[in-house]
């Protein structure tokens, strides 16, 4: 069982998770309302992973992720309004409305997406880590991906290269036990994911992704290891996706009971109970955090609603870089 945080830090972690949860729930509503289109993959249930890991990072560190990256973007400090505007396809969005839900980028905050090809973010992260090394920055690159990606050849090639070249990267596998409708044991001959890293002589650990405090502790340890030893590491966070894979998923592959059971172990409920039990937080505190999260999402939605559309004449802009070398 992870150690108790200070009241301040405990409330901070809870606030971060609530901000994500509230954002995601609103996205679901906005999708039904037709405000958000395309593919939408929500992070409900997995908030503890992004929030926990982000605590260990510095502004000079780089982040790469998948199409299920709203939570990571929010936890990294990208303004909700710029994310929501992106989901609305507005010019004020972080990618001018070109990327949408699956492609959140924020160069300033070193947030490199937002990759919709499963496994595609892994070679990229290897390269960011190589770049950090070669440019002499003492930065750590954190790459988030799902357990489904571990069956892809790019996982294998990337782990080997990162370890062979001793690159400063932390690979965080969000094991939510399903890749769309494919359960882990129907996609991996060896379901113990940590075992696989011995093929690459890479330090690898596993943590309960539903315990944000445990995730934070592990992440701090591994990020320090990566930064100081200049070697990569792998962290499996065991978690669960509370919602459908995307908005098109009838969820034929899992039972309502299974989902219910995991919901009761959720990261928000868990931390809330611990903080209250330890008298570090009152119900009033909790409601206050929820109100704040809601208000922030309201503001983001209003911002997106009033956003503008990119000029059609700019369609071919940025196909090639504008500033010369």
């Amino acid at each position: 069982m992870s150690a108790l945080p200070t009241r301040e830090h405990g409330l901070h972690l809870l606030a971060e998770m609530l901000r994500i949860r509230c954002f995601e729930d609103r996205c679901a509503e906005l999708y039904s309302a037709g405000k958000i289109r395309g593919f939408l993959h929500l992070y409900n249930g997995e908030e503890g992973v992004a929030v926990g890991v982000m605590q260990a990072l510095r502004s000079e560190d780089d982040i790469a992720g998948t199409y299920r990256e709203h939570g990571h973007a929010i936890a990294r400090g990208i303004p909700m309004r710029s994310i929501m505007a992106e989901l609305y396809g507005k010019l004020e969005g972080c990618c001018r409305g070109r990327g949408g839900s699956m492609h959140i980028f924020d160069r300033e905050r070193r947030f490199y997406g937002g990759n919709a090809i499963v496994g595609g973010c892994l070679p990229l992260a290897v390269g960011l880590a190589l770049g950090a090394r070669l440019t002499g920055r003492n930065a750590v690159v954190v790459c988030f991906f799902g357990e489904g990606a571990m069956a892809e050849g790019e996982f294998h090639e990337s782990m080997n290269l990162a370890s062979l070249w001793r690159l400063p990267a932390l690979f965080v596998c969000e094991n939510n036990y399903y890749a769309m409708g494919t359960a882990l044991d129907r996609s991996e001959a060896e379901t113990n994911l940590v075992t696989k890293l011995s093929s690459y002589r890479m330090r690898a650990e596993s943590v309960d992704g539903m315990d944000v405090l445990a995730v934070e502790a592990r992440a701090r340890e591994l990020v320090d290891y990566v930064r100081n030893e200049r070697s990569p590491a792998f962290l499996e966070a065991r978690t669960y996706r509370f919602r459908a894979h995307s908005m098109y998923d009838p969820q034929l592959y899992r039972s309502k009971a299974e989902v219910k059971e995991w919901e009761s172990k959720g990261p928000i409920i868990g931390l809330t109970q611990r903080l209250k039990a330890a008298n570090l937080m009152s119900e009033a505190d909790f409601l206050q955090l929820q109100r704040a999260a809601n208000a922030e999402v309201d503001e983001a939605v209003a911002f997106a609603e009033h956003g503008s559309l990119e000029r059609v004449e700019d369609l071919t802009r940025f196909l090639y870089a504008e500033q010369p070398a």
Binding site: A151, G181, T316
Partner: protein
């Protein structure tokens, strides 16, 4: 799939694909299916829904996220005498399997001096128009049609969706069936034509005298709509559905151009070095002196497809563009 002569059934393109697949599973014991989430999940576009329950795990095989390996598995199984139907969820992910497709599937028969045919079917969804952005909106079927040894087909109608798989199985070659994402919900009638579907000839979907609109896939419906509007303007357009991008049936569109003397090609794929250029070049080579005007093309704008609806639309061929360009071609050369 048997539509008794005369009788018709109304169904979606998705259902027609499922019926086509189901009928070969019922009649050909050597046919089986491999793909991601085709079983328990029911298929990412629900084409394979219910087939796992009906045919079991041996014939409906859910695969891990390993595009290269399970396409290769299809190739090897084909060599071993089976008739695998491999589903790659979308063309966007097929790039991960391209080495197996080009260097092995397309090459083995010729390279082995005819010893090793690869009777493999690959199905994949293709196309843009659903706001799924740059990495999920490719239209690469024309690009794939550059590769010798493959057969590339693009069913656009309910009958072709239901019948082309069976037609493809009549060959012992690698055949890729591209299903446009925007057609899955298309409603239409399944007719006895499905039984006669082939993967060798293009089809004249609308006869006309003034100009040939040459297209394939989902763009067929844009061209048919454009033809209606053109007729209102007194322009009688013929609409050709290529149906098969490799080997290209040039006779059908050349015959059309020899009649209309004008051709406009509509292709959702990126403009440069695409199938539209090939069709135009074939017309140049074989019907140059029949042309009353230069062949024109309306294609996808050469950018990664953006998410925002208005930007995505601006990147794709639109009916109005087709109408106005076709009209001006006829007027000018008239």
């Amino acid at each position: 799939m048997s539509a008794l002569p005369g009788t018709v059934h109304t169904m979606t393109y998705r259902e027609a694909l499922r019926q086509g697949l189901r009928s070969v599973l019922l009649t050909q014991p050597d046919v089986f299916v491999i793909g991601e989430d085709i079983g328990k999940y029911g298929g990412c576009f629900a084409v394979t829904k219910g087939l796992l329950e009906e045919f079991g795990e041996q014939r409906i095989r859910d695969a891990p996220l390993s595009e290269s390996a399970f396409v290769g598995a299809g190739i090897g199984a084909a060599l071993a005498g089976m008739r695998p139907v491999v589903e790659i969820m979308t063309v966007n992910f097929s790039l991960l399997a391209l080495d197996q497709i080009l260097n092995t599937a397309a090459t083995l028969s010729h390279m082995s001096g005819g010893q090793c045919a690869v009777p493999l079917i690959i199905r994949m969804a293709t196309g843009a128009g659903r706001q799924v952005a740059a990495q999920h909106s490719h239209s690469l079927e024309g690009w794939y049609s550059h590769i010798p040894g493959l057969r590339i087909v693009t069913p656009a109608t309910i009958d072709d969706a239901a019948g082309m798989l069976r037609a493809a199985l009549a060959f012992r070659d690698p055949v890729i069936i591209f299903e446009h994402m925007n057609l899955y919900n298309l409603q239409g009638e399944l007719t006895a034509e499905a039984e006669r579907a082939d993967i060798e000839r293009a089809a004249v979907r609308r006869a006309g005298r003034d100009i040939s609109l040459i297209t394939y896939g989902a763009s067929l419906y844009k061209c048919l709509a454009a033809a209606e509007r053109l007729s209102a303007r007194g322009v009688d357009a013929e609409v050709i559905d290529l149906r098969v991008l490799r080997p290209l049936d040039e006779q059908t569109f050349l015959a059309s151009v020899r009649k209309t003397h004008r051709a406009l090609i509509v292709d959702e794929g990126w403009r440069s070095v695409g199938v539209a250029a090939e069709v135009g070049m074939r017309i140049m080579e074989q019907a140059f002196y029949e042309l009353d005007a230069p062949v024109e093309r309306i294609c996808g704008v050469e950018v990664p497809i953006p998410y925002a609806k208005h930007m995505e639309e601006a990147a794709l061929p639109q009916i109005e563009q087709i109408v106005s360009l076709a009209a001006s071609m006829v007027k000018h050369a008239g």
